[in-house]
Symmetry: C2
Amino acid sequence: MTIDNKRYEELQQIKLAVDCIIFGFNNNRLELLLIHRGFAPEIGKWSLIGGFIGNDEDLDEAANRVLYGLSGLENIYMEQVKTFGKANRDTSGRVVSTTYSAMILKSEYDEALVSKYNAKWFPIDELPELVFDHRDMVDSAIRRLRRRVRNFPIAFNLLPAKFTLPQLQALYEGILNEPIDKRNFRRKVAQMNYLVKLTEKDMSESRKGAYFYEFDEALYQIEQNFNL
Amino acid sequence: MTIDNKRYEELQQIKLAVDCIIFGFNNNRLELLLIHRGFAPEIGKWSLIGGFIGNDEDLDEAANRVLYGLSGLENIYMEQVKTFGKANRDTSGRVVSTTYSAMILKSEYDEALVSKYNAKWFPIDELPELVFDHRDMVDSAIRRLRRRVRNFPIAFNLLPAKFTLPQLQALYEGILNEPIDKRNFRRKVAQMNYLVKLTEKDMSESRKGAYFYEFDEALYQIEQNFNL
DNA sequence: ACAAAAGTGTTAACCGTACACCCATGA
DNA sequence: TCATGGGTGTACGGTTAACACTTTTGT
């Protein structure tokens, strides 16, 4: 910001916000947490959770604060996605919004907070009508997730620390929205030494039981050859 | 932006800016256009060209306006890269900045404008010290370019409409900063029918002359199998 | 004994990579 | 004729993709 700008700077009346695309995984489906808009404009539609940036707050901090306010969760993995800045995108005033995507564990969020805000989980292929350009925000977050999930070990944020391969595969199928060959999938997993097979089995989903696995972050830092 | 926000909204005093990472290609090297900062703070350092957003201006429009102001070029291919929002990133006040990367043809920009702003081209591996977090901005733009240039036909923005394969290969080597095998490169080019070989040759770079090629946008829209 | 989910190997097609010589031309 | 840069094909190794049966256990 270095050129010919006095006229813009002095009069600038633009609000800056963040909006969070919150992913969860349930019933073998990728889901999004949305809130019901109880006020005008666009009352009755659903929207992402968002908030304005504090004057002394980093943009990333604002996203974390907003997520914490809704879910009660801290230290959640978030990625900045894109900034939406069309002049007329928000019909209630000039607001530029930076989107962040978050992945949370559906077993851990604070249900009381979520219901306080009239929030609800929706499978990503059954989203209701969203306010403003929130649908575009969601679409770009999903595209980004699909791109990144193959090359970075981020999907584990949607599973408990101990997970089984059938769970992991179902998660990938849910995210990518396509079936995956079990044997090819497991071969790749076997090549990643930081996906550690435990001796314990999960007996809750089948009679035979499936071995638990863990993601070992320290080991991953050495190899960094993630590929699924 | 929908929750608990009155306190932030009403008092918000944050300026919103764009900064442009302008790529060019010259002497077989990828270059960046930077301007010399003639005012405090950080006087004497170099910076990206930037500007504040107008109240009724789309974010993308602002980026185009800033680029136009410096280069005199319109309808330039630009991509949003990332938004930088650390509270203390700009020592002169609270400014959040969205970065855009642009690719321009060094033969076409307005040199008078560029020199008016004390701007100068630098090869990307010989950048001077930059103000604030502009170095981070440049790094993320370069990373993004290197990722995207293999899968999308964007590098052609750095070449004239008619270009030769030796030129194109040198461009890719410059962007990726690694040597490329000529025969493998050409085999891939041959698979992309929208890279059309013309009958005309460029005799200016060699005695034998190299055939000109053209990128056919309409044909590309049909196949979209770009891969280099 | 059977239903239900977990687990296991092999083959063929494709893609990326490495590599060396001839061609056309102007000086 | 020679120096300069343009242009061409093949073989190997690794990766991806397709495919069907056995194992374990609770009922």
